[in-house]
């Protein structure tokens, strides 16, 4: 795909991994990079991008990109994503150079603020134009942070979806299930951050470690593309002889998976397993069998890897993506969606390099605003895109979620992981014709 120029290739080559970069955007992204245990991400380049100098000063990352112009007068974006985007467009070439040399780029950011929401989509676009695959891990703000931030985050997420290969997004609100009354604000943010980092780590391991069962980045992207309206993360660990069983139990009791209900509703599930040298195929099989049973409707993609450092522990990271229940994204039609489709069909037929060419061709000046770019792009591909869109829409009809009727609000009756409140004939798959 691309010649490896500055790859710390020695580490990556054996696993068949490409050069990777992890870029944190905005204050949240930069501090998330700090949370990450860099030792685990051997071979990855780290970079921090922000408009706020103080946040960058506190970072230990090697490559810091301070986006600064007279426009901001050193004051950051002030929570306005328009400013963030403006400055990112202005410094587009800087961002692009920062992305050079990597084949896979992870973007870590907290959406909702000025820098995170504004810069991330632009950075993703810059990264793609260098020919890299882009996977974004983003958080959505807490509900209590206000409507405006929510909207900004949603908007940014839409834009990000249009340009990134995959977006995995964690609504912070979900972490409420992990914390109790006495958890401090600091701890809460730490937990949220940790969750996201777990997600990154899971994917990272999946891609880099020598696998019993290998997984390719393209599979991953195909899986998360278009489905990433909301994701649930869970990462559990266990050791001892009964570890495979314990892991499954822990997973199903994980608060973020809502006792396995999330699994049942999810459309795509990614499982990353990691064990020491003694990880057996039987164990992998046992775990996957259980997980598959709980998410029959989902497309499951799995990888199992070996890491010496794990000793006798077995760790499983699970990312489940489901369709947005209120289908807000579905309703939104027109330009951004068709861009996505156009992109996809193009990349399918002609490979990534050409996509970059197409977007370059249709958007000659990077100074153009994103909406304009999308419109141009949409017009450019409108005929084919519409056909492709119609096909895709059909494939994505939301699956009916089984309502529990009168037991909706009462405590669920769980018996051996089965929710007995759901009608028996549905659980047993008896067809009524």
């Amino acid at each position: 795909m691309k010649t490896k120029t500055e790859t710390p290739a020695a580490m990556l080559e054996p696993a068949g991994m490409r050069a990777a970069k992890i870029i944190g955007v905005g204050s949240a992204g930069v501090s998330l990079l700090e949370v990450m245990n860099r030792g685990e991400f051997t071979g990855a380049g780290f970079a921090a991008v922000n408009t706020d100098a103080t946040s960058l000063a506190g970072s230990t990352v090697a490559l810091k990109i301070h986006l600064e112009t007279r426009l901001l007068r050193g004051l950051g974006t002030g929570g306005d994503p328009e400013r963030g985007r403006a400055i990112a467009e202005e410094q587009f070439t800087t961002l692009k150079t920062a992305c050079e040399g990597a084949d896979v780029i992870f973007i870590v950011a907290g959406l909702g603020g000025g820098a995170g929401s504004g810069i991330t989509p632009v950075l993703a676009r810059a990264a793609r134009e260098t020919g890299a695959l882009v996977l974004a891990f983003v958080t959505l703000p807490f509900v209590c942070e206000g409507n405006r931030r929510q909207q900004q985050a949603q908007q940014s997420l839409e834009q990000l979806r249009a340009v990134a290969d995959g977006v995995i997004c964690l609504p912070c609100q979900k972490t409420f299930k992990l914390i109790d009354e006495n958890t401090s604000v600091l701890d809460t943010f730490r937990i949220t951050g940790e969750l996201l980092v777990q997600g990154v780590r899971g994917v990272w391991r999946l891609l880099t470690r020598p696998g019993l069962i290998q997984i390719h980045f393209d599979d991953l992207c195909a899986l998360v593309r278009n489905r990433h309206s909301e994701s649930a993360f869970a990462s559990v660990e266990a050791s001892g002889p009964a570890r495979s069983r314990e892991v499954v139990e822990k997973l199903l009791n994980h608060p973020l998976l809502e006792e396995g209900r999330v699994l049942a509703e999810s459309e795509a599930v990614l499982v990353s397993m990691m064990g020491g040298r003694d990880l057996t195929m039987a164990e992998v099989n046992r775990v996957m069998e259980q997980i598959n049973r709980h998410c029959e409707r989902a497309q499951v993609i799995m990888g199992a890897a070996v890491d010496e450092a794990m000793k006798t522990r077995l760790s499983v990271t699970l990312i489940a993506a489901r369709q947005n229940p209120d289908a807000k994204t579905e309703a939104q039609s027109g330009a951004p969606a068709s861009v996505e489709c156009a992109d996809m069909s193009a990349s399918r037929s002609a490979g990534r390099r050409q996509v970059a060419a197409v977007s370059g061709e249709s958007a000659p000046q990077s100074g153009l605003s994103l909406e304009q770019r999308e419109q141009v792009l949409a017009r450019h591909n409108s005929g084919r895109a519409r056909k492709a869109m119609a096909r895709m829409r059909q494939a994505q009809l939301p699956l009916a979620i089984i309502s529990k009727g009168r037991f909706d609000k009462s405590e669920p009756t769980i018996h051996k992981g089965e929710d007995l409140d759901i009608p028996t004939y549905i659980r047993r798959g008896v067809a009524l014709n």
Partner: protein, 407 residues
């Protein structure tokens, strides 16, 4: 004033109905049911109070009705409890006999029972019942009364039923809020088994399954004692809910369809049959396939029996059920339910009947009142015990009475 009979009231706050049964215990200990009050329950889900205000109103209505029928004033009740949080297990207490002559004294018996009742429960849980099973003297099984026997080591098994304290308290507080005293709380499954089983059946070994609106309670007797109890928080409500979902009709309509056309066993004859739902003006609204209706029901009920069977099997008690299985609760009224249960459990199943109680025929024959009747029976055991203890007081009462009756 000096009436020898005493009034015992059993109150069951169920998921589908609140039911109060008034019993009268004569001087000879015979129990007679004299009153019954019931009200549709609206504030209970899965056997536990979910809406206090509504539940309170329903309890009040039921109590008032029972009072009117029996012509008594109700002050104390035996309260039935259930819910998915209730669990039962067996525990053994040990006590060394230390006296020089190795004779087991009454104190030793009390001590060993106390030891058996000292159980490590989670702090938020409370014991509902600790029921004595058999004594062991030096490992010898099946001793009923060890006092006076010789031995060095006395053991006893108790069956402990426990539940979450707060959730048990919810029901108790509700009743207390109505200015009623709660004599004791009783596990619903235990109450049903008391109403249904004769001494002989308990001795042979029997499984009682009470399918209520919100929960299915079951109790296993073997060798004359309770060996296992359990609650499955699935009941008739689930059947209605399944129907509402599967036939795409409102819940109230599903409830009605269940009563009118429901069956636990799929009848060959109904294949392809359908019923038309009409609105209050008689206009057809929707056609429902009876086969689907019965299949949905039958699957759910079969699952309930399978889960109960699994649990009993796990407790290792399946081979002890020589008297068979007895069904109670509103679920026992479903047509062909016994047939389905026989199929699922591979064992003779019959609908229960109340024994050794006389009184209102209308109440005694209905399986849904078994629990409340059993509560009264439980109460009668307690009062009998209490009376035999306070025999001195009774003697004085008797003398006074004779004294007064003499003109």
């Amino acid at each position: 004033m000096f009436d020898d009979s005493s009034i015992i009231v059993g109150l069951e706050i169920g998921t589908s109905k609140v039911c109060a049964v008034v019993g009268e215990q004569g001087a000879d200990g015979a129990l007679n049911i004299i009153g019954l009050g019931q009200a549709r329950s609206r504030g209970v889900r899965k056997g536990e109070v979910a809406d206090t205000a509504q539940a309170e109103e329903d309890v009040r209505n039921a109590i008032v009705e029972a009072e009117q029928m029996a012509d008594v004033e109700i002050r104390n009740v035996y309260l039935g409890v259930t819910g998915g949080h209730i669990r039962g297990f067996n525990n053994r207490g040990v006590h060394p006999v230390v006296s020089a002559d190795r004779e087991i004294s009454e104190d030793d018996v009390q001590d060993v029972i106390k030891n058996a009742k000292a159980i490590n429960l989670p702090t938020e849980n409370n014991v509902v019942h600790a029921i004595r099973q058999h004594f062991f003297v030096d490992g010898q099984d099946g001793v009923i009364n060890p006092a006076g026997m010789l031995g060095s080591r006395l053991e006893v098994d108790v069956h402990v039923v426990h539940g979450n304290t707060n959730r048990l308290q919810n029901a108790i507080r509700l009743v207390k809020g109505l200015q009623l005293e709660v004599d004791e709380i009783v596990f619903n499954g235990l109450a049903s088994s008391l109403a249904l089983l004769t001494g002989e059946q308990k001795e042979l070994g029997a499984l009682v399954i009470d399918i209520g609106g919100g929960t299915t309670d079951y109790v296993v007797y073997a060798g004359g004692v309770i060996r296992h109890t359990g609650v499955l928080a699935v009941g008739g409500d689930h059947v209605s809910n399944d129907l509402a979902y599967g036939l795409k009709v409102p819940l109230s309509r599903a409830e009605k369809l269940k009563l009118e056309h429901g069956s636990a066993w799929l009848d060959e004859k109904i294949k392809g049959q359908s019923v038309t739902i009409t609105n209050e003006l008689g206009l057809p609204l929707k056609t429902v396939n009876v086969e689907h209706l019965q299949r949905i029901m039958s699957l759910r009920l079969e699952e309930i029996f399978q889960l109960v069977a699994q649990d009993v099997e796990q407790a290792g008690l399946f081979d002890f059920l020589r008297a068979g299985v007895f069904l109670g609760g509103g679920g026992a009224r479903i047509p062909h339910i016994a047939r389905l249960a026989e199929h699922a459990l591979q064992m003779p199943v019959s609908i229960g009947q109340t024994n050794s109680i006389s009184g209102l025929k209308s109440a005694l024959d209905q399986p849904e009142f078994f629990t409340a009747i059993g509560l009264v029976k439980f109460g009668s055991f307690k009062t009998r015990k209490r009376e035999s203890k306070s025999s001195l007081a009774r003697d004085i009462k008797g003398t006074l009475r004779r004294f007064l009756q003499r003109p």
